[in-house]
């Protein structure tokens, strides 16, 4: 096809105009995306601050309710109606407390204000307390809860932050029970490696997680089954909190699962080595004054 020079120039001009238009459209979209991103960051931060601020406003009355339910059980001992009502109030309030603890720790993690406070912990006792606190929930779902202690390591101590450790294991236990089938079992065990790392295993024999979904489960607000028909409780925060807390404690979390065959979660926590000790510079390190701002 023959075209004249004028036609060629006109066609080229047209094409240039089109690319200029596309480029300017793209710039507008890009600017809008950046604005949206900033808005998102701002709303995330507002939400986190709000949650860390209202923590005490909610925790205090809730603790009073749990305490009073206990008192009521003692006072009303002998009266079947009162005992069953008080134990129901206690169990529901404790469940609410667990959910709220998760929401608050998530807010603290997002605000960067979680500070591990490490102490020596008797692992078996700590795990026994945790397992006992889930007996009621497990019984309701007809799930057997077993704590398997190593024969010779019952006296093992670990240096870690108890509160964070409890939240990690509670979330794994809660999940294991929630996703167990009727009449199933959940087993909790631990070992201490030669390197001093604590390994805690939480095994269920429930629905399991398909390999494609295994990375996704640590995301926020993700429950593999969604919509109004979903059959499992919770807000989908538990595993993302668990992962963030394990990261904070410089440990790792692994899962072994296949659909229909249950899931084994392994949490590996190194002994808390970072203490607030000003003189613990490395042997090979050289200490020097880097810079004095007062002179800058």
């Amino acid at each position: 096809m023959n075209i004249t020079d004028e036609e060629l120039i006109e066609e080229l001009l047209n094409r240039f105009a089109k690319s200029r238009k596309a480029f300017s459209d793209l710039s507008v979209v890009n600017r809008k995306l950046l604005e949206m991103n900033e808005l998102l960051e701002r709303s995330e931060s507002l939400k986190s601050n709000f949650l860390s601020n209202i923590r005490n406003e909610i925790n205090n009355p809730l603790n009073v309710i749990i305490g009073l339910a206990g008192q009521l059980a003692i006072v009303g001992a002998g009266n079947e109606d009162i005992s069953s009502l008080s134990s129901l109030i206690g169990a529901e309030a404790t469940h609410l407390d667990f959910q709220l603890r998760n929401i608050f720790i998530a807010a603290e993690l997002e605000a960067g204000e979680v500070n591990p406070r490490c102490v020596k912990v008797h692992i078996a006792t700590s795990l026994r307390d945790l397992v006992d606190s889930f007996r009621h929930t497990a019984a309701k779902k007809n799930v057997a809860l077993r704590l398997i202690l190593p024969e010779y390591e019952d006296g093992s101590l670990a240096v870690l932050d108890v509160e964070k450790f409890q939240i990690i294991i509670s979330n794994l236990l809660s999940n294991a029970i929630e996703y167990s089938t009727d009449g199933g079992a959940v087993e909790v065990s631990f070992s201490v490696g030669g390197d001093g790392c604590l390994h805690v295993f939480v095994q269920d024999h429930g629905v399991g997680i398909a390999s494609d979904d295994q990375l996704r489960i640590f995301d926020r607000f993700v429950q593999l089954e969604t919509g109004t028909t979903r059959s499992h409780l919770g807000q989908g925060l538990g595993l993302s909190i668990t992962k963030s807390l394990v990261d904070l404690m410089q440990g790792s979390i692994e899962l072994n699962s296949s659909l229909g065959e249950g899931t084994l979660f392994t949490v590996i926590l190194p002994p808390c080595s970072i203490l607030d000790d000003e003189d613990s510079f490395s042997e090979a390190g050289n200490l020097f004054i880097f810079d004095d701002m007062s002179e800058a």
């Binding site: 960051e41 995330e44 931060s45 986190s48 998530a106 993690l109 997002e110 605000a111 960067g112 204000e113 979680v114 500070n115 591990p116 640590f218 995301d219 926020r220 993302s240 909190i241 992962k243 963030s244 990261d247 904070l248 410089q250 080595s273 970072i274 203490l275 607030d276 000003e278 613990s280 510079f281 490395s282 042997e283 090979a284 390190g285 050289n286 200490l287 020097f288 004054i289 880097f290 810079d291 004095d292 701002m293 007062s294 800058a296």
Partner: protein, 161 residues
């Protein structure tokens, strides 16, 4: 620094932030992580963050483990203790290439440094001092009142990432 008076101390864990109106010695240990110190040279107050990875990808919790979150949160934290944005100066540390591989995908240290510097430029905060990159881990201690940061280096120092 050893004037005999008791100064509060805070160890900054990876993925956390600290800033307080009182005088504190804020310390942390860095490998490929980057810590940014923001300090108001007029008010003489400041704070520090400790990022492990450059960008939050929208998955998991939006914690200051990620550089873009850590920088925004540190800035709002130091502003909340009374610092003025126009009086802020920054010091940047860490970002070592501790794994020793030259592969770009593993060079988290470099990517953390680029992110921190880029965010500071966006905030228009001057970087008055930095000790970044290399292959050695660092331990840093910031006096939040004087703005002085002490740095210790050594391959054994790395217990943070």
């Amino acid at each position: 620094m050893d004037s005999g008076k008791m100064i509060n101390r805070h160890f900054l864990f990876p993925g956390t932030i600290f800033a307080d109106p009182l005088e504190y010695l804020i310390s942390t240990v860095l490998g490929s992580c980057v810590a940014v110190c923001l300090w108001d040279h007029v008010l003489r107050r400041g704070g520090m963050n400790h990022m492990m990875l450059p960008l939050w990808n929208g998955e998991g919790l939006a914690t200051p483990k990620y550089g873009n979150i850590a920088m925004e949160k540190l800035l709002s934290k130091v502003l909340s203790i009374g610092c003025r944005r126009e009086h802020l100066v920054a010091k940047v540390f860490g970002g070592a290439n501790v794994s020793g591989t030259g592969l770009e995908v593993f060079m988290i240290g470099d990517r953390n440094i680029t992110l921190a510097m880029g965010m500071l430029e966006k905030f228009r905060i001057a970087v008055v001092a930095k000790d970044v990159g290399g292959r050695d881990g660092r331990k840093i201690v910031m006096n939040s009142e004087s703005g002085v940061v002490m740095v210790g280096k050594g391959r054994k120092a790395v217990s943070g990432d």
